[in-house]
């Protein structure tokens, strides 16, 4: 079994569902911003100069740094 995918491994436009977070600080902040385990997200863009990811969840938009995006683990696609 390979380890679960994270946000940095998504292709632009690809949809996914958040499984869990591997960093509690990131988890607390993102959950307060409305990104929960079970939320479906899609990767909108990667930053022009790299290092940041722009994701969409339902009707809200969040930008994450690489290390934050790494800690958002995605549910395996069924």
């Amino acid at each position: 079994m390979s380890s679960p995918k994270n946000i940095t491994e998504l292709q632009i436009g690809e949809n996914a569902v958040i499984g869990e977070f591997s960093n509690c600080h990131v988890a607390c902040k993102l959950m307060a911003m409305g990104l929960l385990p079970g939320s479906s997200i899609s990767l909108m863009r990667k930053a022009p100069f790299g290092g940041a990811y722009y994701i969409k969840a339902k009707n809200h938009y969040v930008a994450l740094r690489s290390n934050e995006a790494l800690s958002v683990l995605l549910s395996p696609v069924l």
Binding site: V26, F49, G51, A63
Partner: protein, 705 residues
Amino acid sequence: MSEALQKIALLGNPNAGKSSLFNQLTGLRQKVGNFPGVTVERKSGFIKLDDKREVEIIDLPGTYSLYPTSLDERIAVNALIDVNNKDYPDAIIYILDVTHLERHLLLLTQIVDLGFPVLVALNMNDIAAQQNIQCDEKKLSEALGIEFIKINGRTGEGIDIIKSKLPQLLSDNKTGVRTSSFYELAVDEKNIAAKVGALLPVKNEYHALLLAHHSKKINFLKEDKKQQLLGIVQQNNFNPINNQLDEIMQRYNKFTPIVNTVLSRSFNNARTLTDKIDFVITHKFFGPLIFFALMLFIFQAIFAWSVIPMDWIDQQFANLATYLQTVLPNTILSRLLTEGLIPGISGVMVFVPQITILFLLITLLEEVGYMARAVYMFDNIMQKFGLNGRSIVALISGGACAIPAIMSTRTISNWKERLITIMVTPLISCSARIPVFAVLIGFIIPSFKIGPFNSQGLVFMVLYLIGITAALIASYVFKKILKSEEFSFLMLELPEYRKPHWKNVFYTLYEKVSSFMFGAGKIILMVSLVLWFLASFGPKKAMQEAVNVATIESSLLHADKQTTELLIASKKLEASYAGYAGRLIEPVIKPLGFDWKIGIALITSFAAREVFVGTISTLYSIGKNADNMTIKQKLQQEKNAEGKSVFTMAVALSLVLFYLFAMQCMSTLATVYRETKSWKWPMIQFAYMTGTAYIVSFVVYQIFK
């Protein structure tokens, strides 16, 4: 019988429309100050309720939850958990964006659990309708036991209902206070809460638990109480972060099913307007290109558009001074008026067009949601220089004024990144440098067209670019010197694009411009008056001697009456107090190409850079009938003792670069002191900036002279 003024806090998530509601509620009856001890802006306003009672409305900084991740969020949270806080509210109006209902319920249920009477203003119903979201607010009120009122922050719809409900909210019968808590504390949490409750004044269990949670960063308790609190936390092996995660999950589990019953929404996967705009705006290639085009546009706007109203204002004051000179008798009082006061006020007013245009554009970019995109696009580059993506907002605002820019760094949670941003922001050319540059740029390059651009506009652009580059280099150096192991993050919400709310833009502009006129303006005016005094008066003996020497010299030269008067005036100025000060520093600034008159301007403009222009014009207009001439013409006529022009290209270039780099602003230094709570940082800032300025000006003058 006098009753203490009751306070109502306005609270909500970022981008919920809090400032719109605040403006609708209070209008222009607003008061802007600082939260005690920090320079986070504290906005409050007063309103009269239906029962004639006056209450204070406090606009608390927006936050996602009671677990803050930045300084301004912490201020909001402190006001809610510290019962002795000056801003501890009697009740809360919670502003909620219905299109993000679920997420905004998190903080709402937290403040309800803290035991506050809460009234909810349900905002953005028009946008919800466009997105096919319908919310049954009656059902929601019933399910949560809190009153929800639909409002429209833009049109003001529903505001009257909010106002009419306030007396009831503030009354003693506890409307809006729920008896049961949303969050059920676990057994060990109840244990800790009980112990904290025995130590500190708390409203309920949840309040006690929050105090335990924030124990490490609490700053409002006496040291012994804080140690005891930390002791409780340690003895019970309390793990704040796990407790926080559990609490957030439990809250969502509780209200998500409710949201699903009251909200009917049909999500379609069609691309929204925001998706479409961001397809271009955040594009890998076009995104940065658009950003730089916007910045270029802002520079051109400040430089080109503001010239007309500025010239007009300048001319009006000059006309007024000339007219009064012909009408009034020649006394000290009338000279104070026409040579000190009127030019001083003119020096403040002439700035208003530029500040208005710049804040208008920056506020607009902020309002429509563009700024957050700029933060996201440039976060990585900023990181390389030891800054944060959010630093870009400070660096751009620094183009208007370093003071609000430095204050805006409070959204950067990492101390090192925040400190570096504070240290380098004043290198970005602020609007106060514009008049200095504008006067001197004519000596560097004549005005002509290069394609669609004006040559002087392009030189301005180059000066700005030098400032930006210097700021980045300085950041990099600070990054290498300063050490930090703090947690740094981006995690930024990109708000949906919205039409600007003109009322908010207006209030922001009104506040910024009036704070400039009455804040910075006061200093500028005072300095102009002091300067007029210094330049008009001197030691009696020396002044008399100056007149005598000039009279003898002119009779030897067989000079006409006008030349004699000019000579007397200039000798008197040399003998004045201002002349003494300028001569004192002349040896230091001589290698930069500056004479003692420029020396005087350097000293006085430490109050604010733009004072340079006022000083120079006062210095060269004193005793001459030259008030209505433009400053530039005056400077071109200025000759030194050997009859050579003082303002050569080399001197102008050296001066421009000096003002570009030097820390010539005491208000900024005072702000840095307040933000960093130590004189160490403003002193370092002054030393490195003015040191750089001296070296650069020295090298440039020696090359070009």
